[in-house]
Structure formats: structure tokens, C-alpha cells
Amino acid sequence: MKIKKRSTLEHNSKSNQTKISQKIPPEEKKRYLRLMESTNIIPWESDAQTGKFTYIGPQAEKTFGYPLKDWYSDTFWVDHIHPEDREWALNYCLIALKTKKEYEFEYRMLTKTGKEIWLRDIVTVTTNTEGKKVLSGFFIDITEQKKAEDLLKASEERFRALTTATSDVIYRMSPDWSVMRELQGRKFLADTGKPVRNWLKKYIPPKEQKHVMNTIKEAIHTKNIFQLEHQVKQADGTLGWTFSKAIPILDQKGKVTEWFGAASNITKRKHAEEALKNAITLRDNFISVASHELKTPVTSVKIFTQVLQQHSEQIGDERAKKHLEKMDKQLNKLTELIYDLLNVSKIQAGRMEFKEKEFNFDDIIKEVIDVLQAGETKHKLIIKGKTNKKVYADEDRISQVLSNLVANAIKYSPKADKVIIHLSSNNKNVSVCVEDFGIGLAKKHLGKIFERFYRVFDTTDKTFPGLGIGLYISSEIIKRHHGKLWVESNTRKGSKFHFSLPLKHIKK
């Protein structure tokens, strides 16, 4: 608020007899006074020599909490200036008094309760009829304004600190992104000090421009954060990668005034990711080729073994036949290991294929168990219960899971003589539980046994052979069928491995 006309006022209280101005008619003075009293602007008058108030606007009582009469004590003003402001405010007044007719300054006074009030004090110096210097003025309470200013200043300070401390590129764009107003490149990107229009060409490689612009258009349309990982022309001219994020700055009407962005240099990370991806592809291809190459000699050896087996049978050499049977079993193990290796690399690369079709669940379970039983002399494999359901799944993979669970059950119960396969179903799932009566699993292993390459090593348990990928593959297969695979186990009592498959996948 600007106050152009500075005027002296006369207070009509009995305690104040000073007549300051004779020129203004009393009626108008009263009206003016009333007007002032209805605002937050507190008028005052004082003796320039002593600083003692000769008049104070009645609003002062409400603002500062002191009774009005206190204001007329000799050193009220000086006493109630904030101690930190007292000295300079007083000095400022003394100097201004000598050199100026009008002046204004800002300082703090304390209220009765000790609260700080920021005041803008607008002062006029006049001389009264007796030749004495008289001060008149207004207090304007600017506490709220000061608070807001302080907050703004602190936030600006923080913002400046942030933009200085960050290693990110900082940039500002016009509302429609046609103009880049500023970019601090941090040696990663070239700086832009003055607004430029050709920023797209300057920073974004041609093949990325369309992608970047589409994302920007989307952000402008939704007034939402712009966020993108893209390639960028680095300050040294080479191509790099950045993760860039910009937020729209809105005015009070919600109109975008500017986009403020930060972009981090992710070039190293991207290159590392690419190298890793290439290494993984290379590894998977290698495993794929290697396992294929391994299968060829195994096929050949297996055929010869079986030919010899037949031959020894024909000539009645029972010992040779037995040995060859054992050899054949080992070849089957070798084949399984090769398949496991291939399966893991396929799962890792997300390339494991599933051929789903509808099949009778109980029939397949029986088929798998029959085959396993044929090669098993010690353990009796007992199927209990029925599902009576058809499921839509990859028959071979589900068979693989069951084989794996049963093979484990046999392997980890060397002293037991049976494994029970429980079948059950409800209207949502079919469930299988493979129960063994073997060494069981300690609690600490339970959560980890479905992890890749995890093997149970225990000081008390003897270790068992394997790559530690069978359960990992099984759990991935069940996951891909939207089913569940879990385990219950007690050390020395045995384990129960469960899996369930949802029926809702059935396609008619």
C-alpha cells in the first residue's frame, strides 16, 4: 500500500494536549482518524527529542497487547523494540531525523506475550508552532508478509543449493517445449546459457527425436511429469544415455509457466547393462550349443550300450548284461543333467516353450509313476486319491515336475521303502503331494530350495549329488502355469512337496 499524503493527526484524549496541525478542519481530522482506526495501519505521533508517544492508534492495543496508556510512558518505543533491532533502529532514526523529511524502515517489536511483530514504520518529520520537531507516522504490521518472504527465501536458498550440489543436468523449458531457456550440462552435456530453439537437434540424436517428442507431447497434454530414458548427444560429441525427468511449474490458475527438469547420466549403467545382456545371450547360446553337442555322443553310447545289452542277453552273459544295465542308467542320468542345463538357460532367457493342451490329469500321473516305478527297486511308489479332473497344461513339463519331485523323494529317503503320491482336487485346483519318509529338511533351507543352484549342505546331513536346479526348474514350470509349489518338512521325519494347478485355465 502506498501512502502519498502524509498528515499529522490530533489526538482527542485528555492526556494529550499537543496541537500539531491547525490547517485541517477538525471534522475532517476526525473522519480521517476513524478511517485509519478501522484499518491495520496504526497511526502515531511522538516527540522527536525524547521519542515519547504523544498519540497512538487504538488498534495498537489489539496488535501488541499492551494497554494504550502504557504507550505514553517515556521510553516505551525503545523498550519494546526487539533487542536485536534496537540499536540499529535507533541509530537509523537519529540520522534520518537530521537529514530527511520522510523516511521508512522495517524492524521488529515485541508484544506483551513476547511475540515478534514485524513493522514497516513510515515517518514524517515536521516542526510544530513552538519550533519543536515532531514525528508522525504509521505502523504497518508486515509480520505475515515477512514470514512468507522468509519462507520463499529459504526455499530459494535450498533450491539454489540443490541445483548446485546435484550432479544432474538441470534444464528449464518453455511451456510448449519450443524453447530451452537454460541447461546446466555439468560437463555431461553442452551448456545452454541463453534461450535456444534448436535444442532438439543440439541434444537428441535423430533416431531418438520422435520418441522423445511423443513423450513430451503426452506430458504437455496431461500436464504430468515428463520421464524418459533416452540417448543423448554428450558434450564431447559421443552418444550417451540419460534418464530425464521434468515437472511442469504451474501458476495460480494452473497454467504451465515452465518445465523444470533434471537429467542424470546413465551412460555407464546402460553400457554395463548391454554388456551383461550380451554376455548372458552368449552364455545361453553356448549352453544351448554345448548341450546339443553333448547329446550326440550320449545318443551314440546309449545305442551301443543297448545293443551290447541285447547281445549279452542272447549269449546268456548275465554279468555283462547287469553291468550294461547300470551303464545305461548312468547314461539316463547324464541325459537328464544335460536337459536340466538347457532348461535353466532357457528359463533364464525367457525362452522356455510351453505346449498346453487338455489332458486327463490322473492318467498322466499314473503314467509317470509307472515309468519311475519300473526303474526303481527299493521304494514302492503309491498313488493315493484321485482328482477326476482334466487340466489344460503342458503335459511333458508337468510330468517333468512330478518326476523331479518323486526322484528327489527317493534320493532323500535312502532308508525308507515307499513314497506316497497324494492326489486331490476342488473346484479351483488339482493338487499333488509327494510325501517321503527320509531325512527331511531343516527350517533354514525351506525358503531357499526353490532357488537356482541351491543345494542343501549340512554338517549332519551327507550331501547328495545334483546341480541344484531341478526344483528351480520345477518351480518355474509351475509358476508359468499360474500354479503353486511348496514344501512342508521335518528334519528326520521326511518331506511333503506339494504343487497345485488352477483349473480355470481349461479351454473348451
Binding site: 547329446k295 553310447v301 545293443v307 516353450e353
Partner: protein, 122 residues
């Protein structure tokens, strides 16, 4: 007379083993590393069955199979494809093979397949 089987595989170890197996089982065996023999078949030299590897070095077993199955003279000869890649079963079916078996396999299983196809034809 013994039934004649042509075996094509680019691996000598496999050819040796299959030859031994089929020989013991009483078949007359002709082996080939590159499958060229299959290109030159005529009415009088037709085998009773063909065993063909899917991936031959430099050649695609599936293409050879397609050609044989399109040719009037050879199309009725039973053809079983073999591969170390179990997923090749689909490709084998696509190109018209009568059967497929993934390597390694049980010899009994292969012999049963061979016997089945030859018996069926007669």
C-alpha cells in the same frame, strides 16, 4: 529278404551306432553323412524306411523331407526324423515326416517305431 533302411546323420558316431543297432535287429542298412543318396532315389532303389536327422551340417533335414514327401516316387516311404532338440518335433510334423524321436532315446522305442511303420505299409 531283409528290409532296407537308409540312415542320414552328419555325425559318424550316430551312424555307427544306428548301423550296429539295425544290423543286430536284422535290417539291411545304408548310411549317409550328407543325405545326397536321398536325392538320387529311383523306383528300384527305394528303401523300406528312412531315418533322417533334422539338422545336418550345411543342409536342413526338414527341406529334404519336404522334397521326398512331395515326390510321387518317394512319398510313401516311411520317414522318421531324429533330433537332439525335442522341440524339433513340430518342425518334423510340418515337413511331412511320419514320425519323430528326440535323441538320446531307448533303442527299443526306435525299433518299435520302425517296425510299426514298416508293418503298416505292408
Amino acid at each position: 529278404m531283409n528290409k532296407k533302411i537308409i540312415v542320414v546323420d552328419d555325425d559318424e558316431g550316430i551312424l555307427d551306432a544306428l548301423e550296429a543297432m539295425l544290423d543286430v535287429a536284422g535290417y539291411q542298412v545304408v548310411t549317409s553323412l550328407d543325405g545326397e543318396i536321398l536325392e538320387k532315389l529311383h523306383k528300384d532303389s527305394l528303401p523300406d524306411l528312412i531315418l533322417l536327422d533334422v539338422l545336418l551340417s550345411g543342409k536342413d533335414g526338414r527341406e529334404i523331407c519336404s522334397r521326398l514327401k512331395k515326390n510321387k516316387i518317394t512319398k510313401n516311404v516311411p520317414l522318421i526324423m531324429l533330433s537332439a532338440e525335442p522341440t524339433a518335433a513340430y518342425g518334423a510334423k510340418q515337413c511331412g515326416a511320419d514320425d519323430f524321436l528326440a535323441k538320446p532315446f531307448e533303442t527299443k522305442k526306435l525299433l518299435a517305431k520302425i517296425d510299426g511303420h514298416i508293418t503298416e505299409l505292408n
